[in-house]
């Protein structure tokens, strides 16, 4: 413990290096698959130059699409150059919430693969209240959000209840429930209740204006109050885990369920409560996405938010603050990925590759240390799931 560099550096070093490695690997893939690069393999210098150009162009577009673009600046002020960052935050908001859902479960020793399904039910709840009712603006939003949380908390809590009552492993149950939720949504959108009048395709009626989440920085930037909700939820979760008796119990069960039980903590209750809250958080994500961005329920209501949430929580080390930063990073990759695809014909799928590689490197600190010949990196992890019998 002689050299104990600053705590922040310790925490950031590993994710940063993992990110770097992942970008590098992604770059190699981009360059090698470029039809303009491969034929040059005969002359090494040209080949390397072309490879760098290919990957460089793609990553520049990625940056322009996710953070700042000087091309957009010329039209107006310096600020408008940040339009892409607003897009990043638009994606980040629901991602933070879904990520928090997974992170909370991790802390209680549960692996919530079901954020996707919970997100869907949140979207369903918010959508229904959003288009069905006529209420004053703020109240309508609150009501819709409450409905979304309730519905998804029940959906998530069901998993906890099954685990508590019967020992059914949450990984298996949540994987299966994701499919059930997806099919349920498909069916629901074909029912009278959710069919938009005059349309035959599965599309729900539009959300009433009164239930829209307001934009934060004017009409042109899409970043909306959903971001504040997400940040608020992250703070709440931090408080819950570190400063409340409930969080103490959640963490105790996560770290050693047998000892927690011996100390009089009800493991079944914690399991159910955690999965319900986790469901609620993911469902809140669904509500934010529906009320803040989509304005209507579609078959693709959840996109891949629920799955990205898992990588987000892993990158954020199941820590609420880490999860926020991880979600913004991945939100940026998503937003920038679209621009990259449009401008340089580099398929957005590369974002998935980068995401997966980051998490892979993060979860094997020994590998990153080996690659960079490092010694002094903090590698403790609170992210541990258990085998099928655990």
């Amino acid at each position: 413990m002689a050299h104990r560099g600053s705590a922040v550096v310790q925490k950031v070093a590993l994710p940063a290096l993992a990110f770097l490695l992942a970008l590098l690997s992604g770059g190699i893939l981009i360059a090698l698959s470029d039809p303009l690069v491969l034929p040059l393999i005969g002359s090494p210098w040209k080949f390397v130059k072309a490879a760098f150009r290919s990957a460089g162009k793609a990553y520049l577009a990625l940056f322009q699409g996710s953070f700042f673009d000087t091309n957009l600046m010329t039209h107006g002020s310096f600020i408008s150059g940040f339009y892409p960052f607003s897009e990043t935050l638009v994606i980040a908001a629901p991602l933070i919430l879904a990520g928090l859902s997974v992170a909370l479960a991790f802390r209680a020793g549960l692996f919530n693969i079901g954020a996707q399904g919970q997100f869907i039910f949140g979207a369903i709840g918010a959508s229904y209240i959003g288009f069905k009712f006529e209420l004053p603006p703020v109240l309508h939003v609150l009501f819709a959000i409450l409905g979304a949380i309730l519905l998804s908390a029940i959906w998530g809590g069901l998993v906890g209840l099954l685990k508590a009552r019967t020992g059914a492993h949450e990984v298996i149950v949540t994987i299966m429930l994701n499919y059930v939720a997806a099919y349920f949504l498909l069916w629901l959108l074909k029912t009278e209740l959710f069919l938009r009048p005059g349309r035959l395709d599965p599309l729900a009626p539009p959300i009433n204006q009164s239930a829209h989440l307001p934009h934060l920085l004017g009409k042109d930037l899409r970043v909306n109050a959903g971001l504040l909700i997400a940040l608020g939820a992250a703070f709440f979760l931090w408080w819950l885990l570190n400063r409340s008796t409930w969080g103490f119990r959640f963490r105790a069960v996560g770290a050693n369920a047998a000892a927690a039980r011996t100390a009089g903590i009800s493991v079944p209750f914690v399991t159910t409560a955690v999965m319900a809250i986790a469901g609620g958080l993911a469902g809140l994500g669904g509500a934010v996405q529906t009320l803040g961005t989509q304005y209507a329920l579609t078959t693709d209501a959840a996109g891949s938010f629920g799955f990205d949430a898992i990588t987000v929580a892993l990158l954020g080390r199941a820590n609420p603050i880490g999860t926020v930063f991880a979600a913004i990073l991945f939100g940026g990759l998503r937003a920038g990925g679209s621009t990259m695809q449009a401008n340089t014909q580099t398929p957005i799928d590369i974002v998935l590759v980068i995401q997966a590689l980051i998490v892979l490197f993060i979860s094997a600190p020994a590998l990153v240390k080996y690659i960079f010949r490092l010694r002094d990196i903090k590698t403790g992890s609170s992210v541990v799931s258990k085998g099928w019998n655990g």
Partner: protein, 426 residues
């Protein structure tokens, strides 16, 4: 631990499971009887078609009135449940009775659901078998990996990698058999990552499998957009393997054309299932695999290199799933489609859990899932009172019911998912 005594007249866990199973049969049978009586339905006829090819004896078709059929089969199903109960009381196996129950219950449902329709019965079975092929490969891969103590959530990725590699190579070379060779290798590549990170770096295996799936989906999706779409004629224009008729066998009525007029992949699957079933419980390979999956330290203490056994078996699992992946491309449609495995890897995982980590159990589960899926698509074409989305949910809900202990607590190999490090644990 001293000898623990058993209460007189109490039941062992498997016995209780069986008893619960029988109770479920009665419940379902009665439910069917009531539901099909109460829910109004025109008394139209259902017609089942049987002929497929030139079998020795060919049934042509069989028609029955919807009401008679559904009620009749429901009654037989109840009788089968009764038979199961009697067998159980006599401490005999209830397998036959359960099979009879499943069949009649299903027929009862079919008579009700397809009233006034024509059901190509053999086609239904054939389609079900085809849909379960990748599930069976995936489940076998899962069994081998998990029996040796490494959780395999990456089946989806292994299937997808196999599908991609075989499709692309067959298209580039115009040689389908090359696709059959590259597919297992692609699966092994995914497994190599799984094994390295799980065994060498002791990374949490559930997380690892999940991330590997994302990685494979990402890479194949990327290359698909980048190469397979713009240069389709070279990169993605493969064909399918030709079916091979097994002489004589294919002429067996009803089953012959279904089982013995298939592509080489299906025959490989039969062989694989047989080998694994025998090998797992009766060979040196199986004994060592189960040993490192149940109690690695004990295996180490008799001189077995635990991590080597695990590593090899995880690679083998990848090869099997990869081969199964080839079915998607050169086995079925010829070309590769983005994310064409569509979650089949997870259903394979479900099948292996549903089948309690036993090869035949997993095959049975995979067949049921494949069949349910096919029934759904057949019924959605002919029209049915049940929305197809709910039919599609069947495998998933069945799995949840299975792991919820409704049919008994499912027990994984004891050390499944637990990394082994020499000299660390007892």
């Amino acid at each position: 631990m001293s000898e623990r005594e058993r209460e007189v007249g109490s039941l062992s866990a498997p016995e209780r499971r069986r008893r619960r199973g029988i109770a479920t049969m009665f419940f379902l049978g009665l439910g069917a009887l009531l539901a099909f009586v109460i829910i109004p339905k025109q008394n139209e006829t259902v017609t089942f078609g049987f002929v497929m090819d030139k079998e020795w004896v060919a049934f042509h078709e069989w028609s029955v009135s919807s009401k008679t059929g559904s009620l009749g089969f429901a009654i037989v199903a109840l009788l089968a449940a009764l038979l199961a109960y009697l067998q159980f009381r006599a401490r005999k196996t209830i397998r036959l009775a359960s099979a009879l129950f499943s069949f009649t219950f299903f027929m009862s449902f079919l008579c009700w659901a397809a009233s006034g329709k024509f059901i190509p019965f053999t086609g239904l079975l054939q389609g079900g078998l085809l849909l379960s092929i990748p599930l069976i490969f995936g489940a076998m891969a899962g069994i081998i990996s998990e029996r040796s103590g490494v959780i395999n959530i990456a089946i989806e990725g292994q299937l997808l990698a196999g599908a991609f590699a075989s499709g692309v190579l067959a298209s580039l070379t115009h040689r389908n058999w090359l696709g059959l060779i590259i597919a297992p290798l692609a699966g092994v590549l995914v497994s190599l990552l799984l094994a390295t990170f799980a065994i060498r770096f002791a990374v949490d295996q559930v997380i690892l499998g999940f991330v590997l799936n994302v990685l494979v989906i990402g890479i194949t999706g990327f290359l698909y957009q980048r190469l397979l779409i713009p240069y389709q004629s070279t990169w993605n224009s493969g064909s399918t393997l030709n079916p091979i008729r097994i002489p004589i066998l294919w002429k067996i009525p009803l089953l012959g054309p279904i089982l013995f007029n298939q592509s080489i992949i299906v025959y490989l699957m039969y062989a694989l299932v047989a080998l694994i079933t025998v090998g797992l419980f009766r060979s040196k390979w199986g004994l060592r695999m189960r040993a490192v999956g149940e109690h690695p330290t004990a295996a180490e203490s008799v001189g077995i290199n635990v991590n080597k056994v695990r590593f090899r078996n995880v690679l083998l699992a990848g090869a099997i799933a990869g081969l199964g992946g080839a079915y998607f491309t050169i086995g079925a449609v010829g070309t590769f489609g983005k994310q064409m495995t569509a979650g089949q890897g997870f259903i394979a995982l479900a099948a292996l859990i549903f089948g309690r980590w036993s090869p035949l159990g997993a095959v049975a589960a995979a067949l049921i899932f494949g069949f349910a899926n096919n029934l759904q698509s057949v019924l959605s074409i002919t029209g049915t009172p049940i929305p197809s989305e709910f039919m599609l949910m069947v495998p998933y809900i069945a799995t949840i019911i299975a792991v919820s202990g409704f049919v008994g607590r499912v027990r994984a190999p004891a050390a499944d998912g637990v990394p082994y490090k020499r000299g660390e644990s007892h």
